[in-house]
């Protein structure tokens, strides 16, 4: 169990500032994700924690011990690489045993530990296979076993699932989460996939252009985004200048400093009936008194997503597919309603 704290860590490559000075506390045993678009500095931050890059400024503490200048060899921090970085000339067993061998543990000890960890990742049948002969998912699990077997104080993941297909991704995600909970290892997980981060993490830091924009639990980030970027990146939210007035929302009036954040699943649409301008809905929904036009409908299994042109902007609405109606097709005029109790707001910038 270990806690990690980053104090004013920054990194520049020549003129380019990859990471602005930032502070971050990662609690013991947490599954912590760094979420952001590619090029936001999250991998650089991970490499600084691993010791593969030196920060340009600031310091790094592991259990109150300053490890900023410590070589990667001495940190006892595990890392699962994006491309796995397995040793291609070795078997599965040799790959996993390598870290124990350099620690000069006894042969017997090594064999026991490797076999136990291979069992956990369900690879015990493949121990003598050379790693290039494994499938992508199996290679991924070897990388995981190799990092776990040395019982690191902190385990780092650099987009470990990005080379797997969708089904394997979900499965491996479960394996990672389960093993992490069992071992109770503090983990930092880098990803650009917001769904993955939301599903797997205890806490998440959202990064953009070298700055941490918000840190919080998945629910906090999703339902109470601190700014426009987080709302859009995590929740794929819609933004309006609006407020509730009598009879409905007044949408897009000028002068407002803040934007109303509306999640796609909160937008209610119904087919506009000729002559009628008011919707007849339950009491918790309020009509916007304005119409939109559906541009595109995407059916993706559990949900249906509608792209709608609405008051000079494009908005996104979703419904569970059970409630989808054939009349909600591309080109259809629809009435837009919102829940009356939305008060989630972010500043314009």
């Amino acid at each position: 169990m270990a806690e990690l704290s980053l104090r004013s860590i920054s990194k520049s490559f020549g003129q380019l500032q990859a990471i602005a000075p930032l502070d971050l506390e990662i609690h013991s045993g947490d599954f912590f994700s760094l979420l952001g678009p590619s090029g936001c500095g999250k991998t650089t931050l991970l490499r600084i924690i691993a010791g593969l890059e030196q920060p340009s400024g600031g310091s790094l503490f592991l259990n109150q011990e300053d490890i900023t200048k410590l070589l990667p060899q001495k940190r006892n921090i595990g890392l699962v690489f994006q491309n796995y970085a397995l040793f291609p000339h070795m078997t599965v067993f040799q790959n996993v045993a390598y870290g124990l061998e350099v620690l000069r543990q006894s042969k017997n000890e090594i064999r026991k530990k490797v076999e136990s960890v291979l069992e956990k990742v369900r690879l015990n049948g493949k121990r003598d296979v050379r790693v290039p002969n494994l499938s992508g998912g199996e290679q991924q699990r070897v990388a995981l076993a190799r990092a776990l077997v040395v019982e690191p104080r902190v385990l780092l993941f650099d987009e470990p699932l990005s080379n797997l297909d969708h089904a394997l991704r979900l499965e491996t995600r479960g394996v990672i989460k389960q093993l992490q909970k069992e071992a109770g290892i503090t983990s930092i997980y880098v990803t650009h996939d917001q769904g993955e981060a939301l599903a797997i993490s205890d806490r998440i830091a959202v990064m953009d252009r070298g700055i941490i924009l918000q840190t919080g639990t998945p629910e906090e980030l999703y339902f109470s985004p601190a700014n426009r970027f987080v709302a859009s990146f995590v929740g794929r939210a819609n933004f309006f200048t609006a407020e509730i007035c009598k009879g409905g929302f007044a949408i897009n009036f000028v002068g407002e400093e803040e934007l109303l954040v509306v999640l796609p699943e909160e937008i209610y649409i119904e087919r506009k009936v000729k002559g009628e301008t008011k919707s007849t809905l339950g009491s918790d929904l309020v009509s916007t008194n304005a119409c939109g036009r559906i541009i595109d409908v995407q059916f993706s299994g559990a949900i249906v997503e509608y792209l709608i042109e609405f008051l000079d902007q494009k908005i996104r609405a979703t419904r569970s597919s059970g409630t989808h109606k054939a009349e909600l097709c591309a080109g259809a005029e629809v009435m837009i309603s919102l829940p009356h109790n939305i008060s989630r707001k972010v500043s314009r910038e």
Partner: protein, 562 residues
């Protein structure tokens, strides 16, 4: 990563050794050559040697060299590209073995190729005599000697460059964007215009690359004009002749002029390779995509290719057959008639006959050790470290590739026929060391390149993964980096070994009685009309080469299978 910024003391020592080698045995001999050419004995500065050379035979020799090289490029291009296209486009019986036979000239020591041609189409060659008897005219009327003889040998030896370049371009073409051909056909283009407008333009880079390599190799060729050229003047021969006549200044002037031509072609080649080629990265399986041909075209193309393959294998067969010829038994007959295994028994039974073999193996091994040490250190430093003069060191490691062997040999003679700093104040000429040194200098670029590209291809994450697991820098090098480089290192080293084993060009200028290598001994045996003995040496060389190539391809197959 941070450890790569500053050079560790160990790296500084290695860098010093590499710089010592490059400065002493690559740069210094070239400078010495230049100096000799403008500073003949006693004079401070004079262009006399250049004037002398230009007035005498330079123009003729240069014209011959360039013209013969251009013809060699043309012939090699036609045959090599044709074979590559047929092998790529059609399936036919014995294709696998034929495609291996086509590559034989690549591994064959140049001298062996030339000698086999002498026995095939030279004035007393088997084909020449056969045709002469058939038509009852004098063999000298159509013996391929002089210009056309040299061109024939060059085309035999160098068409394989075109074959290799064009083959790899063709398979890349169909792997990475094979659908370009299908797309063109589906848009309604005819086969001819698909070949003309899609296939050929995409192959242009490899044509040009192969042409430059072939041209350089022809300009540097020594064995072919030496043994086959008759009275034809050739630049490499002029250097040799001037040196034998004791005219060091003229030899140096010839060498400088030839080097200028060769190095400019090397630079042109590197510049050209640095430019973008038509390679698109795309996913998907490597389905072979070709332009469909009618059965008649197919039949003729395959038949022509098979005839070429047989012609290209003939020299090797001839050498093997001749190696069983009884000493002194084959004189005026078309075909040899009495055979014996005595030649091979002697190779290992007679100490005098075995001596050149022992010499060559010992010197080739020494050269390989030197090349591996310097080449590996240099590529590590160049790929992994940052230091001032890195580009220059890299250039130095590549320069011997562009400089003809004759020039390197003459440079070494002029540098080490008197005490020098780089030879610990002793004279190297006439000692054992000068030959391995020459072999090492000539072959350094091969190993440097294979190791460098192996290192560059290594995923840096693999080493980082080892560090993270607690493995020290040295442990990582020993257990991760070296094992991963082993296959490119071993195949590079084997190539260096077989090249050194059959090396003729610098050997003939540098050997002494005690260090006579196989190649020079072959020549001596030919001068004694001992055809069988010479051919037995050649056969032994070919067997050694085959073993080395076999080991090398086995290693790379094991690595690939992983």
């Amino acid at each position: 990563m941070n450890s790569e910024k500053r050079l560790a003391p160990a790296s500084v020592v290695l860098l010093f050794l590499v710089i010592f080698f490059a400065a002493g045995y690559i740069l210094f001999p070239l400078v010495r050559l230049l100096k000799q050419s403008v500073q003949p004995a006693g004079v401070i500065f004079s262009f006399h040697a250049y004037m002398d050379v230009l007035r005498s035979t330079f123009v003729e020799a240069a014209f011959n060299s360039v013209a013969i090289s251009l013809l060699s490029v043309l012939g090699s291009a036609l045959i090599g590209s044709f074979l590559a296209y047929v092998f790529h486009s059609f399936d036919f019986p014995l294709k696998t073995i034929s495609s291996k036979l086509v590559l034989v000239p690549l591994a064959l020591p140049p001298l062996v190729g030339v000698i086999s041609f002498m026995f095939l189409i030279g004035e007393s060659g088997i084909l020449t005599r056969g045709i002469a008897t058939l038509l009852s005219i004098a063999p000298s009327h159509f013996a391929l000697e002089g210009w056309w003889g040299i061109v024939a040998v060059h085309v035999y030896s160098f068409n394989v460059y075109f074959y290799v370049f064009v083959s790899s371009a063709l398979s890349q073409l169909s792997e990475s964007h094979g659908s370009a051909i299908d797309a063109s056909l589906s848009l309604g283009a005819s086969r001819a215009s698909t070949i003309r407008r899609i296939v050929l333009p995409m192959l242009t880079p490899s044509f040009i690359g192969a042409s430059l390599v072939t041209f350089m190799a022809s300009m540097a060729s020594f064995s072919a004009p030496f043994l086959f050229g008759g009275t034809t003047r050739y630049l490499t021969l002029e250097i040799y002749t001037a040196k034998l006549n004791g005219n060091d200044a003229n030899a140096a002037a010839f060498a400088v002029l030839l080097s200028i031509v060769s190095v400019s072609f090397l630079l042109l080649l590197r510049w050209y390779q640095g430019r973008k080629s038509y390679v698109l990265v795309s996913k998907g399986s490597g389905r072979r995509s070709t332009v469909p041909h009618s059965p008649v075209v197919r039949l003729f193309a395959v038949a022509a290719a098979m005839v070429l393959v047989i012609l290209l294998s003939l020299p090797v067969i001839i050498i093997v057959v001749l190696s069983f010829v009884k000493e002194g038994s084959w004189t005026y007959q078309i075909l040899p008639h009495s055979f014996t295994v005595q030649n091979f028994v002697k190779l290992f039974g007679d100490p005098r006959v075995f001596k050149p073999i022992a010499n060559s193996v010992e010197m080739a091994l020494t050269a390989t050790v030197i090349v591996v040490f310097i080449g590996v250190c240099a590529s590590f430093l160049v790929v992994r470290k940052k230091f001032i003069g890195k580009r220059f060191l890299e250039l130095m490691m590549n320069v011997p590739f562009g400089i003809p062997g004759t020039v390197i040999a003459v440079g070494l003679i002029l540098s080490f026929n008197h005490p020098s700093f780089f030879s610990a104040q002793s004279i190297l000429i006439g000692t054992f060391w000068i030959l391995p040194l020459a072999y090492a200098v000539r072959n350094l670029p091969i190993l440097f390149r294979s190791t460098s590209s192996g290192l560059e291809g290594l995923d840096p994450g693999v080493e980082e993964a080892a560090w993270i697991l607690g493995s020290s820098g040295w442990q990582t090098l020993r257990r991760i980096t070296f094992p991963l480089l082993l296959s490119s290192l071993v195949s590079g080293a084997l190539l260096v070994f077989i090249n050194s084993l059959g090396e003729f060009v610098s050997s003939i200028l540098l050997y002494s009685y005690d260090t006579k290598p196989i190649s020079v001994e072959i020549l001596s045996q030919l001068r004694l009309y001992n055809v069988g003995g010479a051919a037995a040496y050649c056969t032994l060389l070919m067997i050694l080469v085959m073993v080395a190539v076999g080991i090398s391809s086995k290693i790379s197959r094991v690595t690939l299978a992983e």
